[in-house]
């Protein structure tokens, strides 16, 4: 096609530009933009009501956008969902809905219907179409109930039949709304493998809504996070699945760990700030955090969700850790911005250190103003040290802060001494460490 040739520089097979959709006058999707290339699987994640399904239905042409543009394979579909373009669109875009409606057709008949976009009005399915349907049913292991009516199948079996129909449609873009929702664990993996295979073999593009973030991270090249109809984040799973995005989009605390098999991010759900505080591993125990410049922020949230009482060491006004401590209502020692820690503050800090069951020293940048925080750590009998994210030379400091040791090596020397005694652990294992020590106590 000529129009398509003109768009060669545009490698995206699907481009969504500033898309907004309202339902009953209420804005559900709010100027969302993203694009999907051939050979790519893009996951859409977000809480219930974040607009995922509405976004997908709009892209599929089932809802009319209030503004924005949808470009599929070089053809703009805009807000108009005209009839002439409908069949054309259905050859390019397949849509797999969240729930498979029950109907009186057999599984085979319903799979074969995926060929309709490729047939003329009075054309009947040929043997080629039937072969494609059989292949798709073999791939989704639905052959054994090919002759059964759909309303006699279980939810998961039905979902696999719908998947077969979507495969048979042979569209360039596959839009899938929770294709694994009713599936058992094995079929979840097999289904997503199948999706990846389809993307690889036919150079198709997939947009998939998934609730299981680890599954999304495992199978998607990129993720789009929706929150309240807006795009909150977009990028690779490692870029997108961060504790703060989990908190913002889902209202939960989570740990993001490399999956031991795939190396992709694995999300461990800790809980929500609103969940019951009774009978958690941290109930009745106090953890004191020594941190600064954001190095303890995530830990504060995580420890709170695990039920610990959290106290925090001396934090300067304006420090992002102080803001977090304030927001969470934690007990902490405050100091004026950039001022050195006074004797009075240091004393108060030592009180908290002694009162805590565990003291945690974060891998924060240390200057002369806050070096006494490190000194206070030496007073702890039960210290846990957090490893810096990256090591620069022999300075064991978090380079992300951009501030190495400003204390002429004093802090560094103190830290070295404590490392020899207590060792270091990665930040993401702190909760495990604390839980383990609790288990030993019991």
């Amino acid at each position: 096609m000529l129009a398509a040739n003109g768009m060669l520089e545009d490698s995206a097979v699907l481009r969504v530009e500033g898309l907004s959709t309202k339902l009953d006058g209420k804005s559900i999707v709010d100027s969302v933009s993203f694009s999907v290339n051939r050979g790519e699987v893009v996951g859409v994640v977000g809480a219930n009501g974040s607009g995922k399904t509405t976004l997908m239905r709009t892209v599929a042409g089932l809802l009319t956008a209030n503004s924005g543009e949808i470009v599929i394979d070089g053809t703009s579909f805009g807000h108009a969902s005209g009839g002439a373009s409908r069949q054309e669109r259905s050859r390019k875009v397949a849509y797999m809905p969240q729930l498979a409606v029950s109907h009186p057709f057999t599984a085979f008949e319903s799979v074969l219907m995926g060929r309709y976009p490729h047939l003329g009005r009075f054309e009947l399915e040929g043997s080629g179409d039937r072969d494609l349907a059989w292949q798709a049913m073999e791939r989704t292991s639905t052959v054994e109930f090919a002759n059964r009516k759909l309303d006699t199948l279980s939810g998961g079996e039905r979902q696999r039949v719908v998947l077969a129909r979507v495969l048979v449609q042979q569209a360039d873009v596959l839009l899938m709304d929770e294709p694994t929702a009713s599936l058992d664990l094995r079929h979840q993996i097999l289904t997503m493998d199948l999706v990846r295979e389809e993307v690889r073999d036919r150079n198709a593009a997939v947009v998939v809504i998934l609730h299981d973030l680890s599954l999304a991270a495992r199978f998607c090249d990129r993720l789009v996070v929706l929150d309240g109809g807006k795009k909150l984040a977009e990028g690779t799973p490692w870029e997108v699945l961060t504790p703060s995005n989990l908190r913002a989009a889902f209202g939960v605390e989570g740990l993001v760990e490399p999956d031991p098999v795939t190396g992709k991010p694995h999300v461990l759900l800790l809980g929500s700030d609103n969940s019951s505080k009774e009978d958690l591993v941290g109930t009745g125990r106090t953890v004191h955090l020594i941190c600064g410049a954001g190095s303890g922020r995530e830990l504060m949230h995580q420890l709170r969700v695990a039920g610990y009482d959290v106290t925090v060491g001396v934090l300067g006004i304006g420090d992002s850790d102080r803001e977090a401590a304030e927001r969470l209502g934690l007990n902490y020692v405050a100091a004026p911005p950039f001022a050195s820690i006074t004797d009075e503050q240091h004393e108060a800090h030592l009180e908290l250190v002694k009162a805590a069951d565990h003291v945690v020293l974060c891998a924060m940048a240390v200057g002369l103003n806050n070096v006494r925080n490190v000194v206070a750590a030496t007073a702890a009998s039960n210290l846990i040290m957090i490893e810096p994210l990256e090591r620069v030379g022999d300075l064991e400091l978090d380079v992300a802060t951009g501030v190495p040791d400003f204390t002429d090596g004093i802090a560094d020397e103190l830290r070295r001494g404590m490392i020899e005694k207590f060792g270091e652990i990665p930040e993401s294992t702190l909760l495990f460490e604390l839980a383990r020590s609790r288990g030993e106590d019991l």
Partner: protein, 357 residues
């Protein structure tokens, strides 16, 4: 390397293709219809030998010479054949629109009159009879009935479209409400009228029958039903997709609103045309698509044409039975369809165990 879910079950046969099912069904029902037509044209108060009837029918389509006597030929041609044609075509209309309504509403309870068409037709007919319009011209009774059907369908449509958003549920409920309302008007007219003859005519009309069938009626009603049936059969594939879900249908390229409205309106109009000439005939539109679905499956490309043929055949048999069971008196065919249809349907429900739709 393709991902294989692990099953290596042999491809089971999925029955014959659409075309084969359609051909076999058409041949079978067609042959039965021819046989029943010969019987129907032979039996009655004035009996004609089957061979005479067969040769007369062949003569009519230009093959051979009729061996029947002139009186026999006259009775077959001007009395029995129009009635046979009308019964068949009305049955076909009810069968096909029942199939459509059951599909559109995803509901096995749906029948051709579900959106108020039958009761609208009855009210139109009652008005024609009660006002005496039906005595002015023989065309007025069916005309009034058809107008009644069309008006009630339009009203139900308007109810379902209020607020700019069309709803099938509102359509269904609106149809029930309008039907009850119109039914009350009909009953009130029967009760309030002093003229026993009017009462009798109304009750006769409501019970349905083909005793007034003439070639002129066939000439008017046949084109409407044939055109309507063709339109709906053209949309059969889209109706399949509507059944697997509106979203799915749209995503597979169907213009859902256009298809749905076309189907609703043509199914209602052919029902209206049928009701106008036959009165209310129960059960054909409900039972026939069910039975056909049980045998050939739910694919509307097969289901709708075969429901048309099956409906025609069923009503032809019922009408012939209605003519002969109490001969020389006649039982109303609408009574007979329910008398035969309901027990048969119950038998199916009990024995098939299959979820019908």
């Amino acid at each position: 390397m393709a991902t294989d879910f692990g099953s290596s079950v042999q491809r089971v046969s999925t029955g014959s293709t659409v075309l084969r099912r359609l051909l076999i069904g058409t041949l079978l029902l067609g042959a039965l219809t021819v046989l029943v037509t010969i019987v129907a044209a032979s039996v009655g108060p004035f009996s004609v030998p089957f061979t005479h009837t067969a040769t007369t029918l062949l003569d009519l389509i230009g093959i051979g010479e009729s061996t029947a006597k002139p009186t026999e030929q006259a009775i077959i041609q001007s009395i029995r054949l129009p009635r046979i044609f009308l019964a068949f075509i009305v049955g076909a209309a009810l069968g096909i629109s029942g199939g459509i309504m059951q599909g559109l509403f995803r509901n096995s309870m749906a029948d051709p009159g579900i959106i108020g068409v039958s009761s609208g037709g009855a009210t139109g007919a009652v008005i024609a009879i009660a006002t005496g319009a039906s005595t002015v011209s023989t065309f007025f009774l069916p005309l009034f009935a058809f107008i009644g059907s069309a008006v009630s369908m339009a009203v139900v449509f308007l109810i379902a479209s209020v607020g700019g958003r069309f709803s099938m549920t509102t359509l269904l409920l609106g149809g029930i409400a309008v039907s009850s309302f119109l039914g009350a008007i009909t009953t009130a007219t029967i009760i309030l009228t002093d003229d026993l003859n009017v009462q009798r005519q109304i009750i006769f009309w409501i019970a349905g029958g083909f005793d007034t069938a003439r070639w002129e009626s066939v000439q008017i009603v046949a084109p409407i039903i044939v055109v309507g049936a063709l339109i709906t059969i053209f949309a059969a594939r889209d109706l399949n997709l509507l059944l697997i879900g509106e979203d799915e249908a749209r995503a597979l390229g169907v213009r859902v609103t256009l298809v749905r409205n076309t189907l609703l309106i043509s199914a209602s109009l052919i029902t209206g045309a049928a009701v106008a000439y036959s009165g209310i005939i129960a059960f054909v539109g409900l039972v026939v698509p069910h039975v056909v679905r049980l045998i050939v499956g739910a694919d509307h490309r097969v289901l709708l044409p075969l429901s048309a043929l099956g409906g025609g055949l069923f009503l032809l048999v019922a009408d012939t039975a209605a003519r002969i069971v109490l001969s020389p008196a006649e039982l109303r065919v609408g009574v007979l369809t329910a008398l035969i249809g309901a027990p048969f349907f119950i038998y199916l429900l009990v024995h098939s165990r299959a979820r019908l739709i």
